[in-house]
Structures are given as structure tokens and as C-alpha cells.
């Protein structure tokens, strides 16, 4: 496939890996921020091919993983209401709330539908004027423009039966929160390429300045990820701390300005709780006052739902790179991919789920093939 296969070329990957091995003289801990990057790393086994001294810490950038339990419970409460068509991206359906997940609500008669774009939910609302349609608007800055557009269109079309349960989160405040944590081990960041396609990377200048840490804008294909790691390691070894762009085919410094303008109109910055991490000030978006009629939290009066996270689950520490998944007492016991306590065990690229699989593999008595560095 054009523009994909070129960035999976094993010969070029080999060259980049050689470069990384040559550059890396000291141990470094690098966090990839985005869940898409974690997926690529796990799927391609990139972590196994790096020098033993380079540790990748899987960051809090999987929107499914960081959506707080409380928000899932709100979604479940809305989806269970008669007459509601609840639309969501597919992978949110299996994320456990405190008692159920969206699949369970569906099996109990709720009208829960998987859509591929929030605009599909607007279309469903237009075609079903007698029903209430709610879209679960989660994600980082990447999914925000499409969600903003859906609300914008719904307003333009005068739809009164469409609303959005918004749980948007923002990358730069999360990076700041990680760096503020006294126990943080992160020495460099691979920033999320698609987030930067929208927002640009001017937001990272002050972070680099303040925390003196390299931030490299990184894409998602194997060669993109390797190039991001190479540039980060080079900065670390040379004692530099700069914002660099390893994903120039998609990202410009200023980002997508029309999208940013629309986002500023439709959303406003708010404090947001991150699953397993806690509240980070000014780390999310909610609908702005001009669009509050489309806010499902207000429309369905679910703001009062308050849920405590599992006391056993330590996914927050995992997400911050403070512990390895198998250092959690519940790991593999109370918490497995089949019965996850925290979202990092839910999605296949969640750090805990990935560890669960590889642990099963590497724990075998027999010598295993080419996994010495895992």
C-alpha cells in the first residue's frame, strides 16, 4: 500500500536499529505518549529489537485506557435509557464500567451502535427524529475536529435529538503532569504525531524549556517509531533538550489552523480526571457554553454519577511508568484480559494486556526463540 509499505521496510528498519544501537551509550527511559504508537511497538515487536539499555514506557495516550470509570458509568446510564440510540467507536464497547460494559447494555436491550465517524451519529439522528441519539465523544486532539464538526453540523441542521457525551483529553497537560510527578522516570517523549497534525507543535516549546526534556514528534509506522526513538536517543546522548519533528510528512509547526479555530469555538478547556491517574487541571475539553444544548451530561442529568476506581488496580502507576504491570498484585489474578479491572488490561495494546501475553510466552521453561531481549 502506498505511503504505508514504504514505512515498514525491514531493510530500512535494520539501518535505523543499527543507528540506535550505535548511538545508545547509556540507559534511557523514553515514553511513547500515544496508544497508536504502543500498538505499533507491540504489533511489530520493536521493543525486542532495541538495545537492552533503552526502555520504552507506554504512556497514557490510549483514549480508551484513560477515559475514567465514572464517564463509562455515565455512558452506561445513558445507553440504558429507553429511546436512546447510543453511538460509540467500537473499542469502547468492551471497556468495563463499575458493573457492566456497553456490550452488556446492548444484550439487555439498549440500542448501542458502533459507528466509524461521529458524523454517522449525526446522520442517524437526522434519520430518526423520534429517537434521541448520543455519541460518546472520547479521544485526544486527534478525534476532536471530527467530534467538533458533528456538533457544529447538528446545530446548523437544527437537530434537537443529538447530543454528545464528551470526555476529551489533551496531551500537553498530561506530559506536564508526568514531569511534575516526583517519581517520574521519563527522560524523553515521543509525542503523538496525529495529535500534532491537528495542533502543531508550538505547544511543546514551553514544556521543553521548563523540564529540559527532549520531545520528538513521532508517527506510527515501524520506521516512524524507530526514527522517533533514534532522534530522542541522539538528543539524550548529546545532552540536548529540543522539540524535533520526526513526522514532517504529516505535521507542520503551526498545525491545522482552521481545525484549531473550530475547536476553540466548540470546546472549552476543563479539568479532567484520567483513569488510574486522577484529576489533571486543564487537561481536557468540554462543550463550550454556546453548544451546551448538545452536552449529554446536562441533557441526561448524569453529572451526579460518581464512581471510585478499583482499589486493587494500579493502572495509573503503570500508565506513568512507575511500575511494570506484573508488579501489580492483581496482575494475572483478579485482573486478566478476560476480566479486566483497569483499562490497560482491556485493549490489546494496553500495557497490562501486552505484558500478560508476553509473560505467558516468556515464562515457559523451554528456551524461546529470539525473545532474549524482551
Amino acid at each position: 500500500m502506498k505511503y504505508l509499505d514504504e514505512f515498514r521496510n525491514p531493510d530500512l528498519a535494520e539501518k535505523l536499529l543499527e543507528d540506535i544501537h550505535r548511538l545508545a551509550k547509556q540507559p534511557w527511559a523514553i515514553m511513547e505518549v500515544c496508544g497508536g504508537q504502543t500498538h505499533s511497538i507491540i504489533r511489530n515487536g520493536i521493543d525486542q529489537l532495541l538495545p537492552d539499555t533503552i526502555e520504552l514506557i507506554h504512556g497514557p495516550g490510549c483514549p480508551v485506557c484513560v477515559t475514567p470509570l465514572e464517564m463509562i458509568d455515565k455512558a452506561l446510564a445513558i445507553a440504558a435509557q429507553p429511546g436512546v440510540i447510543f453511538c460509540s467507536f467500537g473499542d469502547m464497547l468492551r471497556v468495563p464500567g463499575s458493573e457492566k460494559d456497553l456490550f452488556r447494555i446492548k444484550s439487555e436491550g439498549g440500542d448501542v451502535r458502533i459507528v466509524y465517524s461521529p458524523l454517522d451519529a449525526v446522520k442517524i439522528a437526522r434519520e430518526n427524529p423520534e429517537r434521541e441519539v448520543v455519541f460518546f465523544g472520547i479521544g485526544f486532539e486527534t478525534t476532536a475536529p471530527a467530534n467538533a464538526m458533528a456538533v457544529f453540523q447538528a446545530k446548523q441542521q437544527g437537530l434537537t435529538n443529538f447530543s454528545m457525551l464528551v470526555s476529551h483529553v489533551l496531551v500537553p497537560p498530561a506530559i506536564a503532569a508526568i514531569m511534575e510527578s516526583p517519581t517520574s522516570r521519563v527522560q524523553g517523549f515521543l509525542a503523538a504525531g496525529h495529535v500534532c497534525s491537528v495542533m502543531g507543535y508550538w505547544e511543546y516549546d514551553p514544556l521543553v524549556e521548563k523540564y529540559q526534556i527532549p520531545i520528538v514528534i513521532t508517527g506510527f509506522e515501524p520506521l516512524d517509531v524507530l526514527e522517533g526513538i533514534r532522534m530522542t536517543v541522539r538528543q539524550l546522548e548529546e545532552g540536548r533538550a529540543e522539540v524535533e519533528n520526526a513526522y514532517p510528512r504529516s505535521v507542520k509547526y503551526e498545525g491545522n489552523e482552521p481545525a484549531q479555530k473550530m475547536l476553540a469555538d466548540i470546546f472549552q478547556v476543563t479539568d479532567r480526571t484520567w483513569r488510574g491517574i486522577g484529576e489533571i487541571p486543564r487537561s481536557g475539553w468540554k462543550l463550550s457554553d454556546a453548544y451546551r444544548d448538545f452536552d449529554a451530561e446536562i441533557k441526561y442529568a448524569v453529572s451526579d454519577i460518581r464512581t471510585q476506581e478499583s482499589a486493587l488496580c494500579r493502572s495509573g502507576e503503570v500508565l506513568q511508568g512507575l511500575i511494570k504491570p506484573n508488579q501489580c498484585a492483581a496482575f494475572g489474578k483478579e485482573c486478566t484480559p478476560r476480566k479486566p479491572l483497569g483499562a490497560t488490561m482491556v485493549s490489546s495494546e494496553g500495557a497490562c494486556a501486552a505484558y500478560f501475553q508476553y509473560g505467558r510466552f516468556t515464562a515457559l521453561d523451554q528456551p524461546v526463540i529470539e525473545l532474549e531481549s524482551a
Partner: protein, 352 residues
Amino acid sequence: MSNTLNFEGWVCPIPLRDHPNIVMGHGGGGKLSAELVEHLFLPAFKNEILDNLGDSAILKLTGDRLAFSTDSYVVQPLFFPGGNIGDLAVNGTINDIAMSGATPLYLSSGFILEEGLSLEALGTIADSMGAAARAAGVALVTGDTKVVDRGHGDGVFINTSGFGLIPEGVDIKPTNARPGDVVIVSGEIGTHGIAIMSVREGLEFETVIETDSAPLHGLVAEMLAVSREIHVLRDPTRGGVASATNEIAQAAKVGIVLHERKLPVAPAVHAACELLGMDPIYVANEGKLLAIVPPNVAEPLLERMRLHPLGTKAAIIGEVTSQHPGMVVAKTGLGATRVVDMQIGEQLPRIC
């Protein structure tokens, strides 16, 4: 009359003409039921055994080992690019039988119809079942029809059961996989699942992806003509190649190593999977088989498979190992290793 159902051309089916849709009476055992059988199913399935209309089909067999299988079909939508629930139900059960190395002979078909289903749709489905059976050289020899209230079904559900005879000297079963064996796939994977998804989810791709639904017993017969040493055959339907190989690894207590770069995937399916965040290794197939065979017969088998229309893109995709028993791992494009686990439920499109 022709094999294509044409209601206008019919001479006497007054009751059918009165009801362009299925009504409860079509399952009531009275005249409406009888007329549905006489005017719709019998012409579509046409064979001597069925024409006897006994309570059971009477069959003659020569052989002492039967392969017997059953499967129910609930696919939505009923019609999709390249096929419909009818030919899928025939080919699917034929393939289950063929995966024992058997020659499929006879099928049954049970229909659960939802009140309101159009007779035209049912006619088309029955017709393609008949056509698929004839093309595969099997006979639909017995059947049943029930009707459920509107809202209690999904148009039509079909169950097909069937059996075939296993040739002398053939012993194909999952527990036969041995370390050192080679894993062969008969062609490009993931096509059926993406074809269904493209219509179910209203996705608009530039190219239409058609199901790969096809009967595989002809290909199996060709393979058995090369060697009776084939250890395992499996059609990787739901859950795709990942589930099928995991089942084999667990049954035979062996490990399986797959090589991602060797997995054949059609460019359009590859593109659709990228778009949806899916992995073709988990996507369903309906006209592909996996074969696990001793290494010495792999090349001759592959050569013969590639001469068959359903095996032109056959490829060796992995091997069986004594390491990591019960587990499947994949060598990634970059040469690392990842675990290929079974999915817990459906594969879901990813947000990021």
C-alpha cells in the same frame, strides 16, 4: 422450469401470489407450507431423493467412515457482495466436512423464517443454495421450515447439516499436528469478513470486496491425490487464521510460528484493515483452508494447490514447533516475535 425463480412465470401458485411475504401460515404445516415446499424449495434444490418427500431421506452409502457436521447461519445482511446466506450455508458445511478429508455427499437444510420476509428474497436464497449444491456435487436431501413472529428473527436463519465419506488411509484431525510440520494457507486471507463488514457498516470503499465463499472439497481431493500424509485441515472462518491455528496448537499441544510477511492478503483487504484498525489474521474466511503437513510433502502439495482455481495463491506461512505448546506466535515484518492470541469476542475497530 428454469433454475432462476420467476414468480411471474409460475402457473398455479395462487397462495404464493396472494402472499408476497412469508406469513405465519407458511410454517403451519397446512397448504401454505406444502405450497412453499412444492413451489419454492423443490424446484430450487431438485434431486431424486428429495422429490420422494418422505419424512426422512433414504440414502445408500458405500464406505465405513463418515464425516458429519452441522452449522447455523445467521449472517447480516442476508445478501452481500459475491453471495448470500444461502450459498454460504451450503459451502460452509461442505467445507467443515471436507476438512476431515471427506467427500461431501448429502446436506440437510433447516429454515427459520421471520414473518414478513419477502418470498422473492427467500426464492433467491433457495435458488443459490441449489446452485451451490449442484456446483459442488452434493444433494440437499431433507429440510424443514418454521416461521417465527415478526421481530423474533432476522429475516432467515439457516441450519445445514451434512456428511461425506472419508477415503481409505486418510486420517486428518487437529491432534495430528507434529513439530516440524509446515503450515500452508490456500490463498488470500480476510476477504469474507471485510466483504460483510463493508456492507454491514455502510463503509464505502472504492473497490467492491467480494466474499471468498467457495466449496473446498475439490481442492482437498487434489491435495489428497498428492499425499495422504496431510495431518490437519482447517477452514479459518470466524476468528480467522489466528483462532484456527490457536485451536490446533491447543489440541495437539504444539506451538505454531507464523511469518507475517508470508501471509497472503489482497491489497483491498489490506487497505480496509488498515483503515479500520483491524488485523487480517483475525478476519473471517469462507473459502480458504489451512493445511498442516510434513515438510517433505509441502512443496509438491503447494505446486498442485496452485494449479487449482481455489489455490492459486497458496503459500507456506509457518511451521509447527515443540516450543511454547498451545501457543501461536508471529514473526513480525521486522523480525521480532509477538503472541497471536485468540480474541475474547469480536474484533472491534480501534479508535486510534
